[in-house]
């Protein structure tokens, strides 16, 4: 790719970017939120048409006008925003656009069989090829998405943050598969915010900053700090800030809580001034636990008390001073058609709403989290994925809640922005006046170990009692989550 | 009709109007009931679910045929579309009398109706007389595809064509099927023929109740009522008041009670083996301020309505 440029209205997403990937190479594409990574790769796959520049594929000029042309030319891409068709089955999604037919009719047998093979290769043989995709959890969908790219059989494979929803073992299996494909001569571009992952799995890397290529090179021996510096343009700050904390009164207490399918049995207390983490494998029911606590899913058995309030609807939860960030940003995190300010203030509008009032009220939150935008009254859907996530988190700051229920709040956020969120969390739980309590669901263990005071492990819907973060390790937690190898 | 089959032996006559909301059909209903009581037969009254819905009227007939009534009196919404259902009924040994509007077939026992062409011509003559044979005329049509009103409109045009001094300045606008669409079409027509001093139009004719109603509202609203000659078709208490107030020159009335009465009576006569005429005219009358007081006209103006 040479001299690629792309503008969205006033935003210059890419300016004269060059990128070359050899066959058999795994190339890590890095950069802050909004740096232009997804845009560059969408141009490669044909989903976007560049304003300037040219692309060559195997030495031939290559100008895809739509994803079908890209796919025909041998470029397959897994998009950052999951792009599956919810009403169709897993197998149908895997083969969407390239369905095999026999005598004009679909060859369902072949589709099913091939899907099973690819899923097995990815270590998820339990996913039913005939299941409807909207019945799968987020992680299951991500597996299907990856399976689709693999089943297509391609020369260039692009993966835009494929592991953001995947637990460690699945991610490792994915890397092994990538290695094998590269070994067969495929070129692989891989976007991620996990630097260790990128450096471990990739052969070479490129860093984008503000739509420009700032660094490229082989990964061997490169310290992560150097990449962070390239990404943010300055040296990175301390990764997991942690001030001295003092646990106070209980804000959240659940006792033998059970929902319709998950969780089956969960007991936990979260106090003022502490961060409690929940770790577990995908499908263990962490999301359902948070949803049940917040009144989004029905409670079957057991007790919930949030800020002294029993079972209640989300409205009452917010009123009593609890707030939640969903893992599903597009589905239920944000109203993407409304403005950034509307989304930030949605839980706590005054009776009257004015443009000036909205700008004033949203300013501090935008500043604290470093949300990159043109105007607070801009539709939130126009922000990059990471900045959207910050808006979803920023809502809790604006509302000034006491208890934060966070379901994978840093998914898709770059290192510097993650640090901003960690700092904010730390500030909230240690502030002198009304320190907050935080319950955070995470899949990335270094993060949980870094910011939490206590961590509980969820396994198949049952929550184990929390242990102090200082008394445990990645190894121990993973063992507990996966059932110690049973 | 509760317990219809329970009094066996009694004839059951289905009477199918074009619609059920207009007063006209309620008067027909009253006439049919009167005949039913006189002749000792059961009347089953059922119109299409939506006015002007031919398909629906066909379904009504088919349902009656399936139920097996003794005979059907039908005001066809369409002179061609209803041919087949009527033929089916006849084949199922259910005789049919057509009333109000014609059917392009001779599969029926008798046709009982106003001569609509004559009725329209009546209005045209009256306007020509009132204008002294000179002036501009507007014809606001009712709705696309309605046979009886089209006949009236053609009768009107034929009558005024005999007067070289009369000019029809608009005859391609339709009132549409609801009162509001008729009102708006009238307002717009009048606005198009407005001059500094009033209207450039001297006479207006509308061919049915809802279009006459809409035009009357527009005339009254625009302050033109009484300044232009206006003749409508069909009866309504509002029209009577307008004629008395000089806002309308007159209205052409059919005799719906008689129509309903004769339709049922003819059908029953046929069922009882008596010979009947193939064509029965129920008459049209021009009602003006002058003859409003006549007892015969009073019976037409406020006919007995079915409950």
């Amino acid at each position: 790719m040479r001299g690629i440029g792309k503008r969205f209205g006033a935003t210059e997403a890419l300016a004269a970017v060059d990128l070359s990937v050899a066959s058999g190479e795994i190339h890590a594409l890095l950069g802050q939120n909004g740096a232009g990574k997804s845009t560059l790769m969408k141009i490669l796959s044909g989903a976007l048409v560049p304003d300037a520049g040219s692309i060559e594929l195997d030495g031939q000029p290559y100008r895809p006008r739509n994803p079908l042309e890209g796919r025909r030319a041998g470029v397959a891409m897994i998009y950052q925003e999951l792009s599956l068709v919810p009403h169709l089955s897993v197998a149908e999604n895997v083969f969407l656009g390239v369905e095999p037919t026999r005598r004009g009719l679909l060859d369902r047998v072949l589709m099913r069989q091939r899907t099973r093979e690819v899923l097995a290769e990815l270590g998820s043989p339990d996913v039913d090829p005939d299941a409807r995709v909207d019945a799968l959890p987020i992680a299951g969908r991500q597996i299907v998405e990856i399976a689709r790219a693999l089943a297509a059989g391609c020369r260039v494979l692009v993966l835009d943050e494929p592991t953001s929803s995947l637990p460690r073992p699945d991610a490792d299996r994915l890397f092994a598969t990538m290695r094998r494909l590269a070994g067969q001569g495929q070129a692989i571009v891989y976007i991620t915010h996990f630097l260790e992952e990128a450096l471990a799995a990739g052969d070479r890397y490129s860093v984008l900053r503000d739509g420009r290529l700032v660094e490229s090179g082989a990964t061997a021996g490169v310290p992560p700090e150097r990449i962070v510096t390239a990404m943010v343009g300055r040296a990175g700050s301390e990764a997991y800030p942690r001030s001295p904390r003092q646990a106070g009164e209980a804000l959240l207490a659940i006792d033998n809580l059970a929902g319709l399918t998950r969780p089956n049995d969960a007991s936990l207390t979260v106090h003022r001034g502490e961060v409690v983490g929940i770790f577990g494998l995908v499908g263990s029911g962490r999301t359902e636990l948070i949803r049940a606590i917040f009144g989004l899913d029905p409670v079957l058995r057991g007790d919930v008390r949030v800020m002294g309030l029993g079972e209640a609807a989300p409205t009452a939860r917010w009123r009593s001073g609890a707030g939640m960030v969903s893992e599903d940003r597009k589905g239920e995190g944000l109203a993407v058609g409304l403005s950034v300010a509307d989304n930030l203030m949605l839980t706590a509008f005054g009776p009257w709403v004015t443009a000036a009032g909205q700008r004033a009220a949203s300013g501090p939150v935008i500043g604290e989290l470093g949300i990159r935008l043109a105007d607070p009254l801009q539709p939130v859907g126009q922000l990059s994925g990471g900045n959207q996530q910050k808006v979803a988190f920023g809502r809790l700051l604006h509302h000034d809640v006491d208890l934060l229920l966070l379901d994978e709040p840093t998914r898709g956020i770059d290192v510097a922005s993650k640090a901003a969120i960690y700092r904010t969390i730390d500030r909230l739980v240690t502030r002198a006046d009304r320190p907050c309590g935080v319950l955070i669901v995470g899949s990335y263990l270094p993060e949980l170990l870094g910011i939490c005071d206590r961590i509980a492990v969820m396994r198949r819907g049952t929550l184990a009692p929390p242990v102090g973060a200082a008394e445990t390790s990645e190894h121990a937690l993973l063992l507990a989550a996966s059932g110690g190898g049973n | 009709g509760g317990g219809a089959r329970k009094d066996a032996g009694k004839l059951r006559i289905a009477v199918i109007p074009k619609g059920t909301t207009h007063e006209f059909w309620r008067a027909v209903h009253a006439g049919a009931i009167k005949a039913g009581e006189e002749l000792g037969v059961t009347i089953e009254w059922k119109g299409p679910l939506q006015e002007n819905d031919r398909e629906e009227q066909i379904k009504v007939i088919e349902n009656f045929v399936t139920r097996g009534v003794s005979g059907i009196a039908l005001a066809p919404l369409d002179h061609a579309a209803l041919v087949q259902p009527v033929a089916n009924a006849t084949r199922a040994n259910i005789p049919v009398v057509i009333f109000d509007s014609d059917l392009k077939s001779d599969d029926y026992v008798s046709f009982v109706a106003t001569d609509n062409f004559k009725g329209g011509a009546l209005a045209g003559e009256a306007l020509a007389q009132a204008l002294g044979g000179k002036g501009n005329l507007i014809l606001l049509r009712y709705a696309v595809g309605s046979a009886s009103t089209t006949n009236r409109e053609e009768g009107f045009l034929a009558a005024v064509a005999k007067y070289p001094g009369l000019k029809v300045v608009s005859s391609n606008q339709y009132a549409g099927v609801t009162t509001e669409t008729g009102f708006q079409a009238s307002e717009n027509l009048l606005a198009a023929h407005k001059t500094a001093t009033g209207l450039s139009v001297d006479g207006i004719f509308c061919a049915n109740e809802s279009s006459t109603f809409g035009m009357l509202r527009a005339l009254v609203d625009g302050g033109y009522a009484g300044k232009v000659h206006f003749i409508g078709f069909d009866a309504s208490p509002k029209f009577v008041a307008a004629i008395k107030a000089g806002q309308m020159d007159g209205m052409v009335l059919q005799n719906p009670v008689n129509m309903g009465y004769l339709a049922v009576k003819t059908l029953v006569q046929h069922l009882r083996g008596q010979p009947v005429d193939k064509r029965i005219d129920t008459g049209a009358t021009l009602v003006t301020k002058a003859n409003l007081g006549d007892p015969a006209v009073a019976g037409l103006v406020s006919p007995a309505l079915a409950p």
Binding site: W318, E332, L338 | Q173, Q184, N188, F213, R217, D221
Partner: protein
């Protein structure tokens, strides 16, 4: 605002076009005369008022196919109340309440049964027209003339100082109220949030069901006002009036820039959209176009107006 400007330009364009066409036809400027402007406004008041309610409903992600039937019901209730001897004011209030009750029914069905609004209001469209016909014993209800009828009548010379009939002014006042509600109140934001992403709104503590019920109630009340206007024009309660009018109302809202997917609605735009449609009808009619030509032109304009808006939106979006 920019959005409303586009709709305004479309309106002015259509208006100018017809003014020129009428002038070349008749040699005078009848189309831009005061009385003709008044006529167009009077003919727009019904669809315009109902479009205010529909704007709220569509912005909240709903739709109301029962609006035409509710207008008919409201005229029937009003006429029945008047002929039963109630005061004109009381009768008019009953007419509006009938609309509100219908809206409440829609809202409850949508939220309690969880059936999509298209189907709920398709059902109530049939059922409420049935109720109107039943109430009116399947005929029109005559009612005495009262001051209610002057709401949308042409102004008498001694009332010229009003500029436009009171019904037109009432529409303007209601538009301002609805505009303020939509853009400057918490309820308005919640409504837009529900229309934009219901799940997100629920998570953010918006009482989705309650917001929807209120929206349909308010929308129904505004359609009830449109029913009162309809009665004012016809002076009868007519259970068959306004058949199919819901599509005109929805078209007005969408021409005004709202998205049927919910999450946005433009009060001024909806009124302008209603005006555009009246201008086409009045203009075509005054030019003596055949009805079928008018229908083709109206259809083409609806599509074109929205297409222009979408293209503009795509470029600036």
């Amino acid at each position: 605002m920019r959005r409303n400007l586009v709709t305004l330009m479309a309106l002015l364009g259509a208006f100018l076009l017809f003014a020129i066409l009428v002038h070349s036809e008749t040699g005078d400027f009848g189309f831009v005369s005061g009385p003709n402007l008044e006529l167009i406004l009077r003919q727009t008041a019904i669809v315009g008022t109902a479009a205010l309610g529909m704007t709220l409903i569509i912005a909240a992600g709903g739709i109301d196919l029962s609006a035409g039937a509710v207008i008919a019901l409201s005229t029937v209730v009003l006429a029945a109340a008047l002929s039963a001897g109630l005061s004109p004011l009381a009768a008019a209030i009953l007419g509006v309440l009938a609309g509100a009750a219908a809206g409440a029914l829609n809202g409850i069905l949508v939220t309690v049964l969880g059936v999509v609004p298209f189907i709920v209001t398709l059902g109530t469209m049939l059922a409420l027209r049935g109720v109107a016909k039943g109430l009116a014993h399947e005929q029109k209800i005559d009612a005495p003339m009262t001051w209610v009828n002057s709401a949308l009548a042409a102004l008498k010379p001694e009332d010229r100082w009003m500029l436009f009939p009171p019904g037109v002014w009432l529409t303007v006042v209601l538009a301002v109220l609805v505009g303020v509600t939509l853009n400057y109140t918490r309820f308005g934001r919640h409504l837009l949030a529900v229309g934009s992403n219901e799940a997100a709104a629920r998570l953010a503590g918006v009482q989705v069901g309650r917001v929807k019920r209120r929206v349909y109630l308010l929308g129904g009340a505004l359609v009830g006002v449109a029913g009162v206007f309809q009665f004012a024009r016809l002076s009868v309660g007519d259970p068959t009036v306004a058949t199919g009018l819901e599509l005109d109302i929805i078209a007005a809202v969408v021409i005004g820039g709202a998205s049927l997917a919910g999450g946005e609605g433009w009060v001024l735009g909806s009124l302008l959209g209603a005006l555009i449609m009246t201008v086409i009808r009045a203009g075509g009619s005054q030019l003596g176009w055949s009805n079928w030509v008018q229908e083709i032109v109206t259809g083409a304009i609806i599509v074109t107006a929205v297409a222009i808006d979408r293209i503009r939106h795509r470029r600036h979006g």
